[in-house]
């Protein structure tokens, strides 16, 4: 697996300035079903941690294991999908809780890009904050991609964020990338902390203009 321009794996979201994520290439893994919520992606009991390290192993945990820790049928358990970096999903993926633990877990499992019919907003925003693209296509195209991955678990998929295409096995499908997401990833501005920090003066002016913000709530000095 590789991500041209940068490797999101190398960044835990806490590091320095962001880099561009122009494209993600690698093998795929399909997880089917609409409305897969973040409680399914990572059950709440695994959030009793003060760091995101080590969350990858808990991805889809309750879908993957019985109470006795025996493996159930799930793509994330299948040998042929180990090492996959492109996740193919259906509609409203990542709905529910805002927990960033969900994309953190998927990223730490090895996912660098997600292709789906649609994504819940907070989830997609969380993915962007990690430099993980969430690109969309219609139901038929996604079905075809999932089927192709099933048939070609070793097949290379190329998610081109800039060109808004996903290429696999000689097929090129058009995908949509949210405009702000595309610009953020392509221009390497998905880490918004430094970007917004540089506007501290303007932030202060906005704070001062709001009737409900008291003077003593605005810190003294330049920040």
């Amino acid at each position: 697996m590789s991500a041209d321009g940068s490797d999101p794996d190398a960044d835990d979201g806490a590091g320095g300035p962001a880099e561009t994520v122009l494209r993600v290439s690698g093998t795929g893994v399909p997880v089917r079903g609409n409305d897969i919520d973040t409680d399914q992606i990572i059950p709440a009991r695994f959030m009793k941690v003060v760091t995101f390290d080590g969350l990858g192993q808990f991805s889809f945990f309750d879908q993957r294991f019985t109470d006795d820790d025996e493996e159930k049928d799930h793509p994330f358990n299948e040998e042929r999908f180990q090492g996959a970096s492109v996740l193919a999903v259906n509609a409203n993926f990542g709905c529910g809780s805002s927990r960033e633990h969900a994309p953190q877990a998927l990223m730490r499992w090895g996912i660098d890009a997600i292709v789906g019919e649609s994504f819940a907003e907070i989830f997609a925003g969380n993915c962007l904050a990690l430099g993980v693209p969430t690109v969309t296509a219609d139901h038929e195209s996604i079905n075809a991609l999932q089927q192709w991955i099933d048939d070609h678990p070793d097949g290379e998929i190329d998610v081109d964020v800039a060109a808004e295409t996903v290429t696999y096995g000689g097929n090129e499908m058009s995908v949509s990338v949210d405009d702000a997401q595309r610009r953020a990833l392509v221009e390497g501005e998905w880490d918004t902390t430094a970007l917004m920090k540089s506007n501290a003066g303007a932030v202060r002016e906005t704070a001062e203009s709001l009737p409900y913000v008291r003077d003593d709530q605005i810190p003294a000095g330049d920040r």
């Binding site: 941690v49 633990h101 907003e121 902390t193 932030v203 906005t206």
Partner: protein
Amino acid sequence: MSEGTLYDKVWDRHEVTELPTGQTQLFVGLHLIHEVTSPQAFGMLDERGMEVAYPELTHATVDHIVPTADQSRPYGDDAAEEMMSELETNVREAGIRFSDPSTGDQGIVHVVGPEQGLTQPGKTVVCGDSHTSTHGAFGALAFGIGTSQIRDVLATGCVAMEKKDVRRIEVTGELGDGVEAKDVILEIIRTLGTDGGVGYVYEYAGEAIESLDMEGRMSICNMSIEGGARAGYVNPDETTYEWLADTDEFADDPERFEELKPYWESVRSDDDAEYDDVVTIDGDSLEPMVTWGTTPGQGVGITQPIPAPDDLPEDKRDTAERAQEHMGVTPGETMEGYQVDVAFLGSCTNARLTDLRRAARVVRGRTVHDDVRAMVVPGSQRVQAAAEAEGLADTFREAGFEWRNAGCSMCLGMNEDQLEGAETCASSSNRNFVGRQGSKDGRTVLMNPRMVAAAAVTGEVTDVRDIEEREEVRA
């Protein structure tokens, strides 16, 4: 694009600048934090050598992992204790006010903000929790964020956001007996879908909404996210101002109240505001709702039949089939009589004082069914104290409910309050996802608090309209 709505006005007032990505840098007027989603953000801040930019506009409490039975420290659960300690250290170092359990002000973050008057019309409110949409009940622009965004807000006082469309949802008429705000929002989600609100902010309006108390409005805005809308709001009015006047922020400072009121009035959507979409829901025709499936959109009126997957739109069938298998329900039947093992009265959706009052009227003079374990988890320590003072706690205890301390509890099963095995829970919370309440085989039926009370005493899903309510009889 919308124009002249509360959303447009609040957005404009908080816009700092446009970022190179095309997103807006939006100033945050109130940042609420809790123990689960903030520690990593403080860690990121540390690694970058940054400090909290606006600690005075930040407020913390502890809710997700806090035990609701024995709260003595250290907590029995080491992981919970570690998270609590981490939060204590972080807020102390940053100078952030903390409604911790020793203050008597602790509670679910979406109960605490409004009851202290921190949540106000025309503010931007964010929190690392999807149910932050709750605060929209006051005419605030409020939405949940992820941990990396919490880092942004801590470091800069801002979030990077894209502007959304506005859908006005007008609920006409008058809600019938036994029908509550919870039923309205479950019907909205059933109608528009769990992803119908993606890309939208919901403005709730109409007679049935305007006649709700603040608690009811909060229940509705709370579940906006279950319909895919990251934020939902109600325009502020006299009901809103009456609530605010009694809060910590304004009770002793009527001048401040008068000073801010014109601003609150000014952010109301204009009469001729333009919306990107308008939907009307007939409030007169609603009845108490219950869910039959594993998404909040899979709801049905208590006397209505559970739909057959084939009768649903094609994209909903597969999910419906799996949900019905998990729940063990039969299409064509109603949910009435569905057996219940646990009754949970709590959560940021329905654990405020008026919720508990209404439920108590159903419980009074009755006892919890022998096969049911029932618990009340008040939304905050203040709700708990008020309920104890007016005798509600006794009513619940005498009926056989456990009366717990404040927290998120069994809504998401992060503390010891969890379903076991394939237990079925009648729940006043907001999510019926598989595994949500702590057991992957557990089953959740969402309903309003009075319906939960009815299920607790009968041991099955029951139409609360068939149960006579009893006024309080104080000795």
